[in-house]
């Protein structure tokens, strides 16, 4: 199930909230949440829900064993076991096919048949959550959780189980046992959820449709059998269509991803959970370094705290620091998908970060407008690497962007198609900046002294969440709509 579906909005979520608020104690509320979370997960993966349950069980067990161990070595042993389970699961389900393919490619023959493993939804998120839990217990940062059910609830909570943010156990440890909703946060959470929903259903989906039309759908890119067709399609595209398509993809990926975090954070707030922010207007960053402080923050801090710093960070000399960064960014790339283009994407940022750290980062900080343009351009090409999992298509796209496929710079079709989306493009760009947030702050500020402004703010505050939910729902009706061929009726 996804948040941006009518079934979630008008069946699952209302049912969940009603049941939740009918219960009075945290214990019964947790039971409700756990049941709903398991149903939510099972909706997409009726079988793989078992993996989630088992992984939580192992991590709970090992964390208890770490806590009761007497010697450091014993603790280390249980930690190693937990890490092995987590990495083993994600390694098998996410990377085994990729590893075998790469191995076969390396030795030049199909020595080992490629295993066909379906990726369980959300495994990259919940295993990382469980890892933070066990490691934090090992480090003594948090006590181990006595109740297995709470560990399972932590890992499976439907707010963030499937698409993040990667919530640290320590951040919600207390709230698993003791939490109180309050009106202020519920109201805040509602607004947050509604704006996330609208951002996803109206803006991100719209951008996705345009990007798919101008470039290729992800389904087409992922289908090796269509390679020749894909190449032919891309080769004939004008440079303008490719640039515009990538620009819409760049908007889509941010709006889509951040809106999921918005909805998770909003739903959490309504119940008294406080998840950390995951995005902080990354496209307004002035350097790649700044960008990664603002983009998918729960993932970059995970790699910082659980890979970079344990490897020695910057405390063991420059050579070691460069290696540590290399490891972190190779892994960050790989986390995004089991394909070499994602590794390349991670390493692309590694190179840029190194260059910024040692050469020109200080200048970017001084001349921020230049830094912002530089950031947008570098991230743009990053997304080209990210989008095209097939290197042949990737190369064709990059060549085509500069007219090197014998393709025209522009065509009538491209200009007239794209000109229809200029207004939409501007709205989406605005949604990537803190403009709305600032406007809200100003309304509140001037509302304190000015009654009409105050009334305007209050009316908007009450009406907007509902309006956004309604608009998003309308745009989700007919999700199943398939344009029919003219001849089929």
């Amino acid at each position: 199930m996804v948040f941006s579906s009518l079934f979630f909005l008008f069946a699952f979520l209302p049912a969940n909230l009603l049941c939740y608020f009918c219960c009075k104690t945290v214990k019964t509320r947790n039971i409700i949440l756990l049941l709903f979370s398991l149903v939510f997960y099972a909706f997409g993966e009726p079988v793989y829900v078992a993996i989630l349950v088992l992984m939580a069980l192992f991590c709970w067990l090992f964390s208890r064993l770490i806590d009761t161990s007497r010697t450091p070595n014993e603790k280390k042993l249980w930690l190693a076991a937990a890490v092995a389970v987590c990495i083993g699961a994600i390694g098998y389900f996410k990377y085994i096919g990729f590893a075998v393919e790469s191995f076969n490619a390396l030795i030049g023959k199909d020595l080992i048949p490629v295993p066909q493993v379906t990726l369980p939804i959300g495994i990259s998120f919940y295993t990382f959550q469980l890892l933070t839990y066990v490691i934090d217990v090992y480090r003594g940062d948090v006590p181990s959780q006595k109740s297995y059910w709470k560990v399972l609830l932590y890992a499976s909570l439907f707010h963030q189980c499937i698409a993040g943010p990667i919530v640290r156990y320590g951040d919600i440890e207390n709230e698993l046992t003791e939490r109180h909703e309050n009106l202020a946060e519920m109201s805040q959470g509602l607004t947050r959820f509604a704006s996330g929903l609208a951002k996803k259903a109206i803006l991100a989906n719209g951008c996705g449709a345009v990007a798919d039309t101008l470039l290729l759908t992800d389904a087409a890119i992922g289908n090796g059998a269509l390679l020749a067709d894909n190449i032919a399609a891309i080769t004939s595209r004008s440079a303008l269509a490719l640039w515009a398509g990538m620009a819409f993809y760049m908007l889509q990926i941010y709006l889509d991803f951040s809106s999921y975090s918005d909805m998770a954070i909003g739903m959490g707030l309504m119940l008294g959970f406080h998840y950390k922010e995951n995005f902080n207007y990354p496209y307004t960053a002035y350097s790649v370094t700044d960008f990664w402080r603002r983009w998918h923050m729960s993932l970059s801090t995970f790699f910082r705290d659980y890979v970079y710093i344990p490897l020695g960070g910057n405390r063991k000399g420059k050579v070691r620091q460069v290696f540590n960064l290399f490891a972190v960014w190779g892994l960050t790339g790989l986390w995004h998908g089991a394909s070499w283009n994602f590794v390349l994407w991670g390493l692309y940022f590694f190179v840029l970060l190194i260059l910024e750290k040692f050469i020109f980062g200080k200048y970017l900080e001084k001349v921020k407008p230049v830094g912002r343009i530089y950031l947008l351009v570098t991230v743009f090409f990053g997304w080209v690497l990210f989008k095209f999992t097939d290197f042949t298509i990737l190369g064709t796209v990059l060549k085509g962007m500069f007219g090197l496929n014998g393709n025209p710079a522009s065509t009538y079709e491209a200009t007239s198609f794209i000109s229809g989306y200029v207004f939409f493009f501007i709205i989406c760009c605005v949604a990537c900046t803190p403009v709305v947030k600032t406007a809200k702050k100003l309304l509140i500020k001037f509302g304190k002294t000015n009654r009409p402004v105050n009334i305007t703010y209050r009316v908007l505050d009450i009406a907007l969440p509902l309006v956004l939910i309604l608009l998003a729902s309308i745009s989700l009706v007919g999700d199943s709509y398939n344009p029919f061929l003219y001849f089929q009726f």
């Binding site: 008008f10 449709a209 007239s416 061929l485």
Partner: protein
């Protein structure tokens, strides 16, 4: 001045407004009788609540089908989708994107016809001599000029909207066109001993009514050239090329603006060319009684995500009643026959159905009898939906007009002819069909089978 509500009251109001509304909507969602089962605008059955099976449960299909059912059969879905289109139009986004035509210019159309398949010896001579490829004679034809400049052009993937009319892309595909020609030639060779075999290819509005300046900019193939090539290559059949006659009337109401079909008026001009080829005199247009249905919003309207420019100016469907008594029976795919009017009253039909007035839409086999004639010839029209508007003009000239929609008819042409005697066979296909390999192969197997 009245004091504004406290922060607490404000928050309670805010939460209540949203939650109560959502709960009300949820309740409506679960009033099952409110859930539609068919979509009028999309012309399809909506998703059904899935049947439970252990296998579907395990694969996850059961749950995802429930979710699909829930959103597909949302109460008031067609009205909501209408609203969605309005919103998308406001944002500039179109709800429907089927592909992007840039660069898909199609194959180069050969300058001269190819003889197509080499025909079995002895069978070629007579047929090809009777059928000179008239279309390739040098000709200087002038067509009526555009009525004015195009004000607004909007690109929508597979269609283009120019002012308040939609136009479909057409790209010539050499191999499919050749297969189409081959199918026609096979029909000519196989059945010319039994009947006269005629064929025409109907252009779409893009090369007829679209503003010439806009048309010149599009990456589409030249339909006249393509039709000339195909009909010129179909040497085993008698061709009647209606392109020029329709285009000479391009300033008349020959194509719908909100739908991809031609109007019955364009079909009349095609009928004139057919009469010329057959050597009979066409009835003048004034001999027909016109029956008009206002408020038609067809495929372009729906495919453009209900573009308001189209929606505000619906089409009118004119049906021409032949000056004779006639009746029609249709045979469905199970072989059941029903008596139906040849021209259906669409006055109160939904906006998107009105082209269905002509022979009650697409049926596997329709049989129209001219009751005013006691004796006379019979003909068979093999068509897809473009043929529907054409058929009524033939009724006056034949005792019986059989109409086969080869997409739905399950048997073959030769088995039909083994039980029915016809004097003429007419293939009426539209130019878009000739680049659609699956339809061309349907037609080919209908002919070859």
């Amino acid at each position: 001045m009245k004091k504004l509500p406290s922060a607490t009251t404000h928050r309670i109001i805010k939460l209540a407004v949203s939650f109560v509304s959502v709960i009300i909507i949820s309740t409506i969602c679960f009033i099952i009788p409110l859930r539609p089962t068919v979509s009028e605008t999309e012309k399809r059955e909506l998703a059904k609540f899935p049947e439970f099976s252990f296998q579907a449960l395990m694969s996850g299909d059961y749950f995802s089908d429930i979710s699909t059912w829930f959103s597909d059969t949302m109460p008031f879905r067609d009205s909501l989708m209408n609203l969605n289109s309005k919103m998308q139009n406001f944002l500039g986004t179109s709800g429907v994107l089927a592909g992007f035509n840039e660069g898909a210019q199609g194959d180069v159309i050969p300058d001269s016809p190819t003889p197509g398949e080499t025909l079995p010896e002895g069978e070629t001579a007579t047929e090809s001599e009777t059928n000179e490829p008239e279309t390739f004679a040098p000709e200087e034809i002038t067509y009526p000029a555009d009525k004015g400049e195009a004000q607004h052009v909007e690109q929508l993937s597979s269609i283009v909207i120019c002012d308040n009319a939609g136009f479909e892309y057409y790209n010539f595909v050499q191999s499919t066109a050749d297969n189409y020609v081959k199918a026609l030639n096979t029909a000519g060779t196989k059945f010319s001993s039994q009947a006269n075999v005629f064929a025409t290819v109907v252009p779409t509005s893009t090369d007829i009514t679209l503003n010439e300046k806009v048309r010149a900019k599009l990456s589409v193939s030249d339909q006249k050239q393509a039709i000339d090539y195909m009909l010129g290559s179909a040497t085993a059949v008698k061709t009647f090329n209606c392109f020029n006659n329709i285009k000479q009337h391009r300033d008349e109401y020959v194509y719908f603006r909100t739908d991809h079909h031609w109007t019955a008026l364009a079909a009349y001009y095609a009928y004139e060319t057919f009469c010329q080829a057959k050597g009979i005199t066409p009835l003048p247009l004034s001999a027909y009684e016109v029956w008009s249905f206002e408020g038609f919003l067809g495929t372009f309207y729906n495919d453009s995500g209900k573009d308001p420019a189209l929606g505000n100016t619906p089409d009118r469907v004119d049906a021409y009643k032949p000056p004779c008594q006639y009746s029609m029976t249709i045979t469905d795919k199970y072989g059941n026959t029903t008596s139906m009017p040849m021209l259906y009253d669409e006055t109160n039909a939904p906006a998107s159905y009105k082209y269905g007035t002509f022979i009650c839409g697409d049926n596997p086999l329709s049989t129209i009898t001219n009751e005013s004639l006691t004796d006379g010839e019979a003909c068979l029209v093999v068509k897809e939906s473009f043929g529907n508007a054409f058929v009524p003009f033939l009724v006056y000239h034949y005792k019986t007009v059989y109409v086969i929609d080869y997409r739905h008819y399950t048997s073959s042409l030769s088995s039909f002819l083994s039980t029915h005697t016809v004097n003429d066979i007419l293939f009426v296909n539209n130019v878009s069909m000739t680049r659609n390999s699956s339809l061309v192969s349907d037609l080919a197997s209908f002919i070859a089978g």
